[in-house]
Each structure stands twice: as C-alpha cells, then as structure tokens.
C-alpha cells in the first residue's frame, strides 16, 4: 500500500491540476471536489493490490480521473453550463481582426464541450499542460495516433469557426498531401 507520506506528497503536488482538469470536465465545483476525493480514494485502493511508484503517480491519477469523469458524465443527464451558444453568434463576413478574443474563446470552449471521447479528454489534458508523450502514456495510444486525433479536432474547430465567419484567409483546402 502507498505510504502515507507518498499519498500526502501526491495530493499536495497534483491535487490542484487534477482538480482543474475535473472542474473543466464537470463545470461544478462541489461535484469536482467529490470526484477529486473519489480519484485519490481509488488511487489508495489501487495501491493495496498493485504497487504504485512515485514516478507514475501523476499518470495514474490522470488515468483514474479521466475514467471517473467519463463515468460521472454518463451518469448525470448533464445540463450544459457553458453559456455561449454558437448558433446565436454573429453571422459571416467577419474578419479575424474583428473577433474579440473573449468571444472566440467562448465559442471554442463550447465546441470542446460538445466533443466526444477521447477527443475531449485529449484537449483537457493538453489544457492542463500535459505533453503528447504523457497523454499517449495515459491513454495507451501512440503519439502519432494522438496527434492525428488532435489534428481532427483542430480541423473541426477551424471549420466551425469558418461557418461563423472567423479566420478565413483562404477558403480553399488544398489537397496536396505534403504534410503527412
């Protein structure tokens, strides 16, 4: 079982970032705290049967967090807390310079919330500052697969923004394949 000093150290080191991840996932402070507690309890229970090294605690915590957050999202009939409704935004012919950064952030966040798994988790991991390598370890996929998934999200968001008239220096998607 994980020693007390180790669990204390892990909590002091990672609880803040894990909490941030959870908060971005559930948008509710009380629920986020409940989930955070649940995550650390699961880590303790896991450590009873399997050895936990301090080097992999962070990845383990993120892995548990992701699972718990997905379970929690499945369980509740989630009412969307994000306020921005992209259908209500100004229509076309906006130039990149015209979009205020708050407005754009709002739109992007609302799009991220509508993403399915594992894309949403990937974005939240990235926003928590995890590297591709770390995310790939947590999600047990290759880095290249991970990047492809990120690319598909970026493309999706770009197209959504284009639908709303933002950032359209050139509308044509050239298919030269030279980037792959």
């Amino acid at each position: 079982m994980i020693p007390r000093t180790e669990i204390e150290r892990a909590y002091d080191l990672y609880s803040k970032e894990i909490f941030t991840y959870i908060l971005r996932s559930v948008h509710n402070r009380d629920e986020a705290e409940d989930i955070l507690q649940d995550v650390f309890i699961k880590l303790i229970n896991y450590s009873v049967k399997s050895s936990v090294h301090s080097s992999n605690i962070r990845a383990l915590l993120y892995s548990i967090t992701r699972t718990v957050c997905i379970d929690s999202a499945r369980k509740r009939s989630r009412t969307k807390i994000e306020t921005t409704d992209i259908t209500m935004l100004p229509d076309r012919s906006r130039d990149i310079e015209e979009g205020t950064s708050d407005e754009i952030i709002g739109i992007i966040n609302s799009i991220v919330d509508t993403l399915g798994e594992p894309e949403r988790s990937i974005i939240l991991f990235r926003r928590n500052g995890l590297t591709y390598s770390e995310i790939a370890t947590i999600m047990k996929i290759s880095e290249r697969t991970l990047k492809r998934k990120v690319k598909s999200v970026i493309e999706y968001i770009r197209k959504k923004l284009r639908e709303k008239g933002f950032f359209i220096p050139d509308d044509t998607d050239k298919e030269d394949g030279s980037f792959n």
Binding site: R4, S15, L36, K151, P169, D170, T172, F179
Partner: protein, 357 residues
C-alpha cells in the same frame, strides 16, 4: 496560388503533424502574414496550457487521508490476524451453538415423542359413551385433550396399568394432561366418577373450583352445577379450592354444600365405589338441572336413532369451519404476498433513485 496557408496546412502545423521542412516553411509564412498567424495562434490556443487558480477545499484532503488511515487499519488488522481469529472464533461458536441447538431440539422432540403419557383406554360399559364427540369404540386410546361424555344410561371405564376410573351417566370428563412426568389431569365438568388406584400412577381431578388429589386411594367424585361430592372408600383424598383445603379419610364423604364437614358414607355409596358400578341410580340426583347443563352433544347422543346423524352433522360443521379457516388463511397469505411485493417495489424505486443520484 493564394497568398495564405490552406486550412489543412494550418491543421497539420498546429497539431504537430507537419514535417520539419513544412513546419519551417509555414513558420516563415506566419512571420509575414497576420491573418494566418492569428488563425494558427487561435487554433493553437485550443490545445495550449490553460493556467488555473482553482483549488479544492481542505476537506477533500482530510477525507482522502482519513480513507488512507481506514484502509491502513484494515490491512494492519488483517496482517496481525486478529480479525480472522475473532471471525474464526465467532464462526466456530455459532456452529457449536447451532449444533447444540439441533441436538437439544432432537432430544427434546425425541422426548416429546417418547412421552406419550400413560396408556389410557376407554371401554364402554353400557349406554352411550362418546369420545371427542363420536360414539366410542372399545379400547379407544385416551390422549391429552380427549373429551369423554356419557349419556343417560351411559357408563364407561377408563383404565391404565394399576388404575381404573369409572364414569357415571350424564358425565363429561376431559383429559387436559396425560404426561408420564406430571401425571394425568382429569377435568370433571359434570357427572360422577369413581377412581380406583392400585399402582404408582400420578393423577388428579379438577371439579369446578375444587382440585381433588388422591393419596393412594379409591374414591368417588360427583360433580354437578349445584354441588360437588367426594366419597372415599380407601386411603385419603385431598380436596383443595382457593378458599379451602380438606383431607377426606376412609369411609367419609365430603360435599361442597358443607365444605367444612365430613359425613359417613352410606352403605349404598360404599357399594358403588367398591364395585365401580353406578347402576344409573346413584350418580346424580339433580336430574332436573342436567338437561340444562349436560354437554351439548350428550342430548343428541341419547337418541340412538339420531346418533349417526348427529355425528355427521358435527362432521359437517367441522368441515365448514375448516373451510372457513382455510379461506381466512388464504386471505392472509394473499395479503402477506401483496405486502412483500409492495415492499420489493419500494426497494426497487429507492435503488433506482440512488442510482440516478
């Protein structure tokens, strides 16, 4: 060719999939193109680190540490083997207790089964003699709870090893207890009996409020609504009631009309006791009351023609009563089943509620 990067170029560049060569070319373009740079920056911000100042409250840490403590305690207990020992001990104890209970129950039941009391048999001497409401066949076995009744000319003899009990006409005698340890208890509701004991059988009589217990003797008891008489021909008999107690010695007769006095037995009564024959004359003198007080079935029994009809009617009545009881039981069962189902439904709803939470 456009002066801007394509969407695909930006997607690859932002997601890190672009080759080093293409990435360098794109970077070069972004340096000089504000629009493309802005787009690339905005899309990069989707996957860039977003700092946050949110902190969980302290109670979460406390809950986590308390859980660690709890789990740790469990592990320590398990390792030290205390709990398993206690568990094994309690399990063993429970098993032993169950074993003892089973053995006791077995022995108790065995004893119950073995202790069927004294073997009492009923013989019809004359006239109508009824056991539990049906015409008695000879040598019927009297068990606990039996009821013996005699009609107008009925006389019966209950016998056991070393014991004889003559029952006169218009008598009703119940046997509330027949137990080899506590003895036989007779309940003389009405009529007359002569008790003759020559063995070590334990028995006693209840007659109204009077308890008559022998001290190894022959005696006669007469019991009616008006009075109870006890005549003793041999040995001693004790008569007890809540307000009195008297011992009747040989050759004396006691009557509840004068509970403090004893008189000498007249020769006719002495003869009856000695022979055990009532001859239908001397049992009860107050025949007028008998019709009122005689047992319900006794009246029907006297008419020999209606004997079988009476029994049949009684059987019918019993059948009807049994059917009614079965009906009632079924009703109760149905109600119970309904209650159980309701309870299950409630539990299910509760579980669902908890799950949804």
């Amino acid at each position: 060719m456009s002066n801007h990067l394509t969407g695909k170029e930006i997607d690859y560049y932002v997601s890190g999939l672009a080759s080093a060569e293409n990435a360098a070319r794109i970077r070069k373009h972004l340096d000089s193109c504000t629009q493309c740079r802005k787009l690339a920056e905005t899309l990069s911000s989707v996957i860039a680190e977003h700092p946050s100042d949110s902190m969980p409250r302290i109670h979460v840490r406390e809950a986590v540490m308390s859980h660690w403590q709890k789990v740790n305690n469990q592990i320590v207990e398990k390792a030290s083997g205390e709990k398993p020992v206690i568990k094994r001990f309690t399990t063993g104890l429970a098993l032993a207790a169950s074993f003892i209970l089973i053995i006791s129950a077995y022995l108790f039941l065995g004893r119950m089964k073995a202790d069927e009391g004294y073997l009492l048999t009923l013989h019809s001497v004359s006239g109508g003699v009824y056991l539990n409401g049906s015409a008695s066949t000879d040598d019927s076995v009297i068990t606990t709870g039996s009821l013996i009744q005699t009609g107008e000319k009925g006389e019966a003899l209950v016998s056991a090893s070393g014991y004889k009990l003559y029952i006169g006409s218009f008598s009703s005698l119940a046997v509330p207890r027949n137990n080899s340890i506590r003895g036989i208890q007779f309940l003389l509701n009405e009529g007359a009996v002569i008790s003759k004991s020559s063995g070590d059988i334990t028995y006693s009589f209840s007659c109204g409020k009077y308890d008559v217990s022998p001290v190894g003797t022959d005696f006669m008891i007469k019991c009616s609504i008006k009075k109870t008489e006890v005549a003793v021909s041999q040995g001693k008999v004790k008569v007890e009631a809540p307000d009195m107690s008297i011992e009747i010695s040989e050759g004396r007769i006691w009557s509840s009309e004068k509970p403090g006095e004893l008189a000498a037995i007249d020769p006719a009564t002495a003869l009856i006791i000695n022979t055990g024959r009532f001859n239908n004359r001397l049992t009860n003198k107050d025949t007028d009351n008998r019709n009122i007080n005689k047992p319900e079935i006794a009246g029907e029994k006297e008419n020999s023609e209606s004997n079988s009809n009476g029994s049949e009617e009684k059987r019918n009545r019993e059948e009807i009563r049994e059917k009614a009881e079965i009906k009632q039981m079924n009703r109760e069962l149905r109600q119970e089943r309904k209650n159980i189902n309701d309870f299950r439904r409630e539990q299910k709803t509760e579980r669902k509620g908890r799950k949804n939470e």
